[in-house]
Symmetry: C2
Subunit: 541 residues, 2 copies
């Protein structure tokens, strides 16, 4: 076991920053980060022990200290410079512009949570002061707020090597909540992971966080289960396949003390185009939809994998325009060979399905193989995902359950419903979704209401006239919907409300002021919004 940078602890913030810049981030070792040590072994027991001992110390820090830590992580990530972008592009096969943008998002969400902590009202403080004269019994003084739940296990996602991996949204929101984090690195982008983990550790050292606030391990699958089942772990965050998500859920429930797993799993993100929009905006929607289906080689959780229409004379011109657009999109390198293999199998199954017709395929890999960055960089066989579009009739769709399942990649299935009532029936038949979209015009007034009602029941985010890809990181975002899109539709994994996954409320009854958290003290030292005797106020008591 090698000890890195422990002397950073005795260095002032400024000096350590200078030091940071000379730290060699590109010497990758493939080691595990166990608190402030590194090791060739993924010593799960040591990591969870450290997380457990860090928890009371870290959670008790002033919000400003936690905010500074989050900001320091963002700074250290930026200090990794182009080397991070290059490594991440090589490992993911995603283009430089996308990875640069994703880095911005990753740092942006760390800073957003820092801002959220400084504002402070997110703890939902509620205070009912004592009523000693009340009859028949006096009312005690009761003060309630959200407190962190304990150490959190975060599983890196394949499709967001930065924004949903080592220091991504799950890590940022768990740290913001006051919970130490243990990251299980995704095997598709280990170098990116190591660089980011180094940045987090450096940020933790220079902001003097307790050791164990962050660890990061390479774990084979069976040990990932052991991580979920370690008694120190109090919640799990995961983005990935339904199969793995359900496995983690099962493991978490078999514990002596079951814990929540926030798994974001699968969705086809239905997009409904009503007659008016189909007639008036065919070209615009054809272009927008083709772009949304193929963005990032279709590897977004919010990829629109299902398009729903009611048959009419407007359908053919639209499908023609859409097919033309999609055919012009080139294949792209997928995240890893497993994902590529699943995509190929999904397409093969669609091609073989009764009543399913291919209407377009994008430019094949063969015709552009020479220029593939991934092949040039790695030497692996290129895993090129070719765009596809299919159609099927509404009745056929309703009779074949498999057609409503996610095919992760740049393909979509257009369901041509025979009638408006069949459209509603198809919508009702769908499982829970992350998103659901409707395109309409004023002419669609009568059908729009019922369609929107069903979409709201089916999804966590409903979109009018747009596309589901592109998930804003903000206060109002909801990225989480009914099962199986996520394991808990009451939560979001994107936006500031993601912090609410890692907390629980505690009520303090008749507690001496000295023992109360600052958020619940009469003086309201942070000036947060509180519900005091039924009225929302920032005033002190």
């Amino acid at each position: 076991m090698k000890v890195i940078s422990v002397n950073f602890l005795s260095i002032s913030g400024k000096e350590s920053r200078a030091h940071s810049a000379t730290f060699a981030p590109m010497q990758l070792h493939g080691h595990n980060f166990i608190g402030y040590r590194t090791s060739a072994q993924a010593d799960l027991g040591a990591a969870t022990r450290l997380a457990k001992s860090a928890f009371p110390l870290y959670s008790a820090l002033h919000p400003e200290q936690k905010a500074a830590f989050l900001e320091a992580i963002a700074e250290e990530i930026m200090l990794l410079g182009d080397a991070l972008i290059e490594r991440c592009v090589n490992e993911s096969g995603l283009p430089t512009a996308r990875i640069t943008c994703e880095r911005g998002r990753t740092c942006g969400q760390l800073k957003l949570f820092a801002h959220h902590l400084r504002e402070g009202s997110w703890v939902e403080a509620r205070i009912d002061t004592a009523l000693p004269e009340r009859s028949p019994v006096p009312r005690p003084d009761i003060r309630r707020m959200l407190i962190p739940i304990g150490p959190v296990a975060v599983f890196g996602a394949s499709n967001f090597p930065l924004a949903f991996s080592t220091a991504g949204g799950d890590t940022a929101s768990a740290l913001a909540a006051g919970c130490p984090v243990i990251v299980k690195a995704h095997p598709s982008h280990t170098g990116t992971h190591e660089m980011i983990a180094t940045a987090v550790i450096k940020a933790a050292l220079r902001t003097r966080m307790p050791e164990g606030v962050f660890s990061a391990l390479y774990l084979p699958n069976e040990e990932a289960i052991a991580l979920v089942q370690d008694p120190a772990i109090q919640a799990v965050a995961f983005t990935g396949s339904r199969r793995v998500g359900l496995t983690l859920l099962k493991a978490a429930r078999e514990r002596a003390q079951p814990i929540p797993v926030f798994a974001e799993m699968s969705a086809v993100n239905p997009l409904v185009i009503l007659e008016g929009a189909l007639r008036d905006q065919a070209d615009t929607i054809a272009r927008g939809l083709a772009s949304s289906v193929t963005l990032g080689v279709g590897q977004f959780c919010t990829n629109p994998g299902l398009v729903l229409l009611v048959d009419s004379p407007s359908v053919s011109p639209f499908l023609h325009a859409f097919a033309t657009q999609l055919s012009a999109v080139a294949s792209g390198t997928m995240l890893n060979q497993g994902i590529h293999q699943s995509y190929r199998e999904g397409i093969k199954a669609l091609l073989a399905s009764n009543g399913v017709t291919e209407i377009a395929r994008g430019i094949s890999a063969a015709s552009r193989q020479a220029t593939v960055a991934h092949a040039a960089a790695g030497g692996d066989e290129p895993s090129q995902g070719q765009p596809f579009a299919f159609t099927v009739g509404g009745e056929q769709f309703l009779s074949d359950k498999q057609l409503s399942e996610e095919v992760f990649g740049p393909s979509t299935l257009v369901v041509r419903c025979a009638s408006e009532s069949q459209l509603l029936q198809v919508l009702q038949s769908l499982e829970g979704q992350l998103t659901a979209t409707v395109h309409a015009t004023d002419a669609d007034g009568l059908l729009l209401g019922p369609v929107a009602s069903i979409l709201v029941q089916k999804a966590g985010r409903v979109i009018y006239g747009g596309y589901p890809t592109g998930v804003e990181v903000s206060d109002a975002m909801q990225h989480g919907g009914p099962f199986p899109s996520t394991s808990d539709p009451r939560t979001t994994s994107v936006g500031t409300a993601a912090i609410l996954r890692f907390v629980r409320p505690v009520a303090y009854q008749d507690f001496p002021p000295a023992l109360l958290p600052d958020e619940l003290k009469n003086e309201n030292p942070f000036g947060i919004m509180r519900l005091v005797n039924g009225a929302l106020t920032r005033e002190k008591i």
Copy 2:
């Protein structure tokens, strides 16, 4: 199947009120309430179909209409008059004063939720308005709020025949959230149930609620599982034993679409008395504790079943005072024979446990059998729960897992720890709790901090210098703690925050104002508090 009162639907509020008073509530039939019909059969399919069809109608009602419904339920319960109190006393064996008080609590929480709906800010509206000029991509308009989750199954509790049964806290909070409710009646108090269900149905009719907003069934255990597994049901609320709670959880997870079960199960509610308090307040605490242990024949989820002390010369005088107080408390009728049987077995096991010493028992049933209300009223054998108090050493307690399990009834186990560090060790060894209490004085300063920290980690509500029985229904109350005290420590079953169990967030992106819920419209017609572009405000946009 008999149709009752459907013509109430065509009667104005005032007339139906008059009608209500002449409706004969005391003719009990033992029938099921399936929407607005009654039936000898517990037709689960019909009830869930009605709930499902009522959901979109009921959830779309104006908050004022839902509030009026809740208030009407409270009014109809009061109109049942003394007949309800008498029936409930007979069925539960609980004293008239307690049941009268519980009726007040039941009606009070219905009215509290009505008030909560009228205020409206509980939907946690968050609005990020569009930034069309933002680069590189414009920000869409995103608006998020909590919406009801769907029909809820409520399991009546044995120990609160009014406040946690047919129209108790779970029903009130689910209806307030906008969810239809199907109640599974508790077999211990079927007449009370029928009277209350009649009151709810009358309130629903006179406030013109859609049929299916409320149904109530007598279900044997296997059909209770079918209720949990019915696809229409979207959440389950339960208060009862750990065994049954875990059975319902398992059933809910085996569904094609798993749903949350909010189960409040078991707790021993540790109460720590530190040296200063033991020395200075021995008599006061002895009296308060004996009263809390035996209140309601010890049949509260928050009953203090575990008392923790550090051995010192102050312990013996305290234990003597406590034993004296407890010995003076008479046995009382328990809720049903099953609970009584379990209590007897629990006491027997404690008496037979290594190192456990009985220090007091209350006045036995035999010496007061002649006056037992329950026996007089029913003819069943009286199920008299006799108060007990035991002591055990800290080391013995740590070595015998069973000693930390709940014995539901008027008994408590005093753990005499050999040292302060053993006290902390015992506290750390405990499972999750609904409540945890500490008594201390200024002299206990040094130990109080670590003790309070552990209590906060172990429980949903922490109490200083008081007793855990007596759960205030208010905004700040938290009644729900880490497993196994509840199945989801992020929720409460008491207080206004209980409504948050039955909702999920939905984000509306670029939605036309006409399709937005009122809570998210620019005009903010209800004047609720919203987070608009990062700032909490009641202003319109």
